[in-house]
């Protein structure tokens, strides 16, 4: 008896929520980035589970696309973090509040 897609969805929801909490509560830019990766992974899980439930392969294709975009995002994002750190000696996003109204 295989595990139904509903379970995977529920697990993905839990992981997504954890990721969201991480973004909202942590101020280290790196950890926030990791939280985003966690959320992306949660979504990927739903794709794969749905792909199996529907008997297609398109879900897996979508996951691969998400991975590519995530990889690109990580490269650029980390470069930005390093750049900010070089100038400000901090990785805390709370201190980068120059755009405050």
């Amino acid at each position: 008896m295989s595990v139904g897609p509903a379970w995977y969805m529920a697990l993905a929801a839990v992981l997504f929520g954890i990721g969201a909490l991480g973004i909202l509560t942590r101020r280290n830019a790196l950890v926030m980035f990791m939280s985003i990766e966690l959320m992306l992974n949660a979504v990927n899980l739903t794709f794969v589970a749905a792909s199996r439930a529907l008997g297609g392969i398109e879900g897996q294709v979508a996951v691969l696309f998400v991975m590519v975009v995530a990889a690109a995002e990580v490269t650029v994002g980390l470069a930005i973090i390093v750049a900010v750190f070089r100038r400000r000696a901090t990785a805390s996003v709370d201190e980068l509040a120059e755009l405050a109204g």
Partner: protein, 624 residues
Amino acid sequence: MTDVIWLVVLFPLIGFLALLFFGKRIGEPRAGYLGSATVIVAFVLALIAAFDFIGGEGEAHTVVLFEWMPSLGLDVAFLWDPLSAAMTLVVTGVGALIHVYSIGYMHGDPRFGRFFTYLNLFIVSMLLLVLGDNFGVLFVGWELVGLSSYLLISFWFTKPSAAAAGKKAFVVNRVGDVGFLVALMLIFSSFGSLAYGEVFEHAPEVLSGGMATAVTLLLLIGAAGKSAQLPLYVWLPDAMEGPTPVSALIHAATMVTAGVYLVARSGALFELAPTSAAIVATVGALTALFAATIAVGQKDIKRVLAYSTISQLGYMFMAVGAAAYVAGVFHLVTHAFFKALLFLGAGSVIHAMADEQDMRKMGGLRSKMPITFATMAIAWLAISGIPPLAGFWSKDEILAVVFNRGGAWIALWVIGLITAGLTAFYMTRLMYMTFFGAPRWADGVEPHESPALMTMPLVALGVASAFAGFINTPWRLGFEHFLEPTFERFEVHLAHPPDGITPWILAIVSVLVALAGIAIGRRRYGGAMPAETGLWWDRVENGYYVDDVYGTTLVLPGKRASQVMAFAFDAKIIDGIVNGTGTAVRAFSKALRPLQTGLVRSYGVGILAGAVGLLIWFLSRGGV
């Protein structure tokens, strides 16, 4: 030839543009030659084009230049008919003479070129006014002559009184223009067109009696503003602040007659509204008498002539109001000659007296300025109505027609007769104070005859003033036959002088009145200058203080209202709304600013809240 009638307008226009852009470079006196040449060419062209009408053969001719406002069916089109031909000839003829005169008069003025620029602009505008084939072109010319009049009155704008006079003329004319504009709107809404042919032809079917009265009364307001009739005459005496050639051309011979032209041109409308026509005649008669009494008390030679002009324009209004359109236009033509001559003569005197305009400081100029004196004497007798000079024929035709209407019109005839006597009196006063008696010159003034450039136009106008009357004598109605087609075209009925012996009796009466006026004037001013002091002289000299009355009743409340509008309504309420908008936006932004914390995590909360909100919405709608 009539097809290229637009050439008449084109030449002065070329002169205007050339002078406008290169006036300074062309310099004195060539700017004057250029300006004069273009107007002379225009006059010659107009004369050639008018030959057909003189022979009584020509037909009214419309020349469409281009479509102007197709949605209104409005074209820029010229109408060449006897009336516009007569007006064109007066404008270009007198205009050319005054252009030539100005070359001498404006000699040495630093803005010599600019003066001729304005003068040419005026000629162009006036030609548009008289040649237009519809009320639209007429109105454009109407406003443009107002503009050039303003520019020329305040030509010496460094003089505060000149600047104020220009402003006054402009504002008072605006009052009349409002009436004119409303009249045009009514005409357009009634006829769906502004073209003369369309409007006048269908006027009897389209216009109800009340509407005709309304339109014509509004036209009268416009005409009264431009032609300085009661109660809008106040700008004309002040307009004498302009250079004298301007006074002669614009404020005596041509522009101020635009109102008379307007009424004559709209004869088909006035025929449908006898009440309005009677009001026109009454306004004219009262203006004639009122201005003549003021002219008696003026000390400034140009102001005498200004009030005289108002008075003579009143005569013309009386004539066109009495449906004596031919007599009115006839008087317009003769008046253009002798009043331009009087102004130019006065200018010559002022020139000789080193810019002195007060007649009490003149006297005895006869021998020093023989040509000026001789020509002005012709004009003096002409305006007084002494046969066989021009003024006699035109003035008497007006009086005869008014008398012939009978009934209440006899009262207007009496007023006209009294005015004729007064006219003879104050003109005699002017002549005697200026040319006769002992010199009362200020120290160091050496009067001399003016140069030939100035006296030649005087002589030409003198000849015209002497003989122009013969174009329309009771035994040879040349001018009437000339003009008739214009009015026959729309079946306008012309009022005529009485037949038989009556006109001769009337003429003898009016000549006797004129001679009486001259005799009284001669007796009073022939010897030493009588003292003119006392309550009545004071009142008359100041024009019955009408300006002061207008000042306290109209201008002051207007200024007060403007002040309230400017400093209370505009500054507080209008600006308040504008500033209030800004303040409200600022306050709103200020209230919202704290939202923009700059903290990425706060924004994250917002995003998540949005996601949750969307989810709630989807779920509450029952689907996913």
